[in-house]
């Protein structure tokens, strides 16, 4: 993309900001003003985007889940029910926000605020287009992993301070699960880092653009693993165990009402977007789309990809039942962890071969992708068969009896 695009070139939204900051510098504005201005503009932009995403996602999720469940979804408020999220939000704000009398008021109030912090902070490092990053941290991936772990704290605070047994059980489950799933998540993301040689998210996107390949082709298995771990970390069905509706009422946020509950509800949606954005950047080339980003603004491509993955998350929620907590933990430790270790070994070996023998990328990457895709299929099938072996020992259809042997001594009385 040419650097000297005019300020109104909407392919790069950060360009206008840069022009403005340059103007401030030209007039002789102090340095701190430039920093403050860029921070305020960036924060406001991200805030608006996240707020808009929440409002839109409520509608999208309810509507799509409705379609998945052969019903219509919200369709009364506004055209196609588009005003439904606003009605929902207004209702939540109006409602009384109760605090349990025996609960810890301060921690109870702090938890819904704190749970929002990591969700918003994670958005700081995503590249929305070439050069359109709020902060291009060189440890961006590490930052995201670190910051999203803070959610555990808020979950535990909510569960503990509610003084409710369901909440406590939900919080216990949540902590156990989030900690277990951090490990395979980090190990799988490491594969991407080894290939790209950088931890910066925009660096990884640029690597994919340079190599003209999506990392999903090289890393199909990690994508699957990450999708599962991400679903577990943001508490979405198949793995929404901390808030398992049918068992724990609403898990750690059982006692929350009004807008405090709304915060937990909204953060789930924001986290969904954050995870989709991470998958889109790491595995599907971010804003890069095989040269099409010359014509379409990068941020539109990126948002399109993000929502493609968000759709997958909604789809999963609409279709799959929930695991049990011990099964889910077993899945993390017995299935995902070994697979991600195998994957790291494989990636390291491939990169070693690549670097050691100085083969050109054009030759080596197709071979690697073929090998990795084949191995991923093989490993997943083999491992699944192994895991399911115990459960598949009995037939899946009932035995059929045309007639029955009536015992000689019947209970008294016959009808009709």
């Amino acid at each position: 993309m040419p650097l000297l695009a005019p300020w109104y070139d909407f392919r790069d939204l950060s360009h206008a900001v840069h022009r403005m900051l340059d103007a401030v510098a030209d007039v002789g504005g102090p340095d701190w003003l430039i920093y403050v201005l860029s921070a305020v503009i960036g924060c406001a932009g991200l805030g608006i985007l996240i707020g808009g995403a929440v409002i839109f996602n409520i509608w999208l999720e309810r509507r799509l889940v409705g379609r998945i469940q052969v019903r219509r979804g919200p369709n009364r408020a506004g055209p196609w029910g588009l005003l439904q999220p606003i009605a929902d939000t207004l209702k939540l704000i109006q409602k009384e926000s109760l605090t349990p009398r025996a609960g810890d008021f301060i921690v109870f109030t702090l938890a819904p605020v704190l749970v929002f912090v990591p969700a918003i902070l994670a958005f700081a490092v995503f590249p929305w287009g070439p050069g359109m990053t709020f902060t291009d941290l060189n440890v961006g991936l590490l930052y995201i992993i670190a910051i999203t772990s803070v959610t555990v704290l808020a979950v535990f605070m909510a569960g503990w301070s509610s003084n409710n047994k369901y909440s406590l059980l939900g919080a216990m489950r949540g902590i156990a699960m989030l900690i277990s799933y951090e490990i395979p998540a980090v190990l799988t993301l490491l594969g991407v880092v080894i290939f790209a040689g950088t931890m910066s998210i925009s660096g990884i996107v640029l690597w994919q653009e340079d190599m003209r390949i999506w990392l999903v082709v090289l890393q199909p298995l990690p994508l699957l693993i990450y999708l599962v771990t991400a679903a577990a970390e943001i508490n979405r069905t198949p793995t929404d165990i901390p808030e398992a509706e049918s068992e724990l009422v609403a898990g750690y946020h059982t006692e929350y009402s009004g807008i405090k509950f709304g915060m937990f509800y909204a953060v789930e949606l924001v986290n969904g977007v954050a995870v989709s954005a991470l998958i889109a950047s790491l595995y599907f080339g971010g804003w890069w789309l095989f040269g099409l980003n010359q014509w379409i603004p990068g941020w539109i491509i990126f948002i399109g990809k993000v929502y493609a993955f968000y759709f997958v998350l909604i789809w999963l929620r609409g279709t799959l039942p929930r695991f049990r907590i011990d099964q889910l933990m077993g899945f993390a430790w017995k299935f995902l962890l070994p697979l991600s270790l195998i994957n790291i070994f494989l990636v390291a070996l491939e990169v070693l071969i690549w670097v050691e023998y100085e083969v050109s990328a054009a030759v080596v990457l197709p071979i690697f992708s073929a090998v990795n895709i084949a191995l991923a299929g093989l490993l997943v099938v083999a491992w699944t068969r192994l895991m399911a072996f115990h459960f598949e020992r009995l037939p899946k259809r009932p035995r059929m009896y045309g007639d029955i042997a009536v015992p000689a001594e019947q209970p008294t009385g016959t009808a009709s």
Binding site: D240, V249, I325
Partner: protein, 367 residues
């Protein structure tokens, strides 16, 4: 360092999303594991058995579909059969066939609900429920078409049924039966083959056959435990002796067996309805029965295979217009009695799933 832990008590219910009404489990937990459970019923007790002693035999019919409100037809049927047996009223042939048709449709509707709610308890977020509701809605439409009510259909009468089927009933029923096999195989593909459903249900809530018999468990639960027993075959009533159908039986007695038995029973019900529709004779739909029925002095027990199990009515007549004793042998209550043995040692999630697989109806448990 050993960590000091102590069990704690959680009240699951009476207000809980998955206790199917107002059932209460007082669960003692060691972490996630259940070490003890105390079942508390009676939150929906409406004293129907006592109330029925003050009402005439005909006036008691509405009570019977407010017991198991998801299977009103079979409740009606069981009571009417008992009252007919007590007073020796013959039922016209057409009425018997209509009763079979409606009882089997009701079984499909009830099983659809049971399977959907079961999957909901597994955490499937209403999707299977909504899919199975398609069939249930169509069946309820058929009920509405015939007797004007969808849920509490006070359709059966002593000596027959209340209304004959309207002209548009048979085409609608044929359309439903036409699309049902395809739908059923779709559900089998999506639910039975689903690995998560398999993992959640296999070896969960196991009810061994000997315990099942000892606890008087009946219906799909008994068949899920591997016992071949069906009152429609063992002790035929209405026109079931002329129907051809198979009894699905499970292997292990776990939740998965109950699920597959229910799914297969829906297919078999469709088969029975088809046969009944073909054999449906003409003629009157109701015998002449005096409004103030006074059965001779005596007592009777009559039972049918309701969707939940053996639904029996024990009636005692003292020759007056009201029953002297009106006792219901409700399958939900007796099926529920085995719950403790099924869930102690399992986790909370298993308890909820097991409770869902029993398919209780609190209206029938408490009466």
């Amino acid at each position: 360092m050993p960590i000091h832990t102590e069990p704690f008590v959680v009240n699951i219910g009476p207000q809980h999303p998955s206790t199917h009404g107002v059932f209460r489990m007082r669960v003692t937990l060691d972490g996630e594991r259940i070490i003890d459970v105390e079942m508390v019923v009676g939150y929906l007790h409406r004293s129907m058995e006592k109330l029925a002693e003050e009402r005439t035999y005909t006036q008691n019919i509405p009570f019977t579909d407010r017991m198991d409100y998801l299977a009103a037809m079979t409740g009606n049927l069981a009571y009417c059969l008992a009252a007919e047996k007590l007073s020796g009223i013959p039922v016209p042939e057409r009425a018997s066939y209509l009763r079979v048709i409606f009882a089997e449709l009701q079984r499909m509707a009830s099983h659809a609900m049971a399977i959907g709610i079961y999957l909901n308890d597994c955490g499937a977020w209403h999707t299977p429920l909504m899919y199975l509701f398609r069939e249930r809605e169509k069946i309820l439409d058929l009920f509405e078409m015939t007797c004007g009510a969808r849920l509490t259909t006070i359709y059966m009468r002593i000596g027959g049924v209340a209304f004959d089927i309207p002209d548009e009933f048979i085409p609608a029923l044929r359309a439903l039966l036409g699309e049902l096999p395809e739908r059923m195989s779709e559900y089998e593909d999506l639910l039975v083959e689903n690995e998560i459903v398999l993992m959640r249900s296999r070896d969960v809530g196991v009810l061994p056959p000997d315990l099942a018999v000892a606890a008087s468990v009946s219906g799909p639960m008994l068949r899920g435990s591997g016992i071949v027993w069906d009152i429609r075959k063992a002790d035929p009533y209405c026109a079931y002796d002329r129907m051809e159908f198979d009894i699905p039986v499970g292997y292990n007695g776990d939740c998965y067996d109950r699920l597959i038995v229910r799914l297969e029973e829906m297919r078999q019900s469709a088969r029975i309805v088809e046969q009944a529709l073909e054999q449906l004779p003409g003629g009157p739909i109701r015998a002449e029965v005096p409004l103030m029925l006074r059965p001779p002095v005596g007592e009777t027990y009559s039972r049918i295979e309701s969707p939940k199990g053996e639904l029996g009515f024990y009636l005692v007549s003292d020759g007056g217009p009201t029953p002297y004793r009106f006792k219901v042998r409700s399958p939900s209550l007796l099926n529920l009695s085995a719950l403790k043995e099924m869930i102690v040692g399992m986790t909370v999630a298993d308890a909820v799933v097991t409770l869902g697989s029993i398919d209780i109806n609190l209206g029938e448990v408490d009466r």
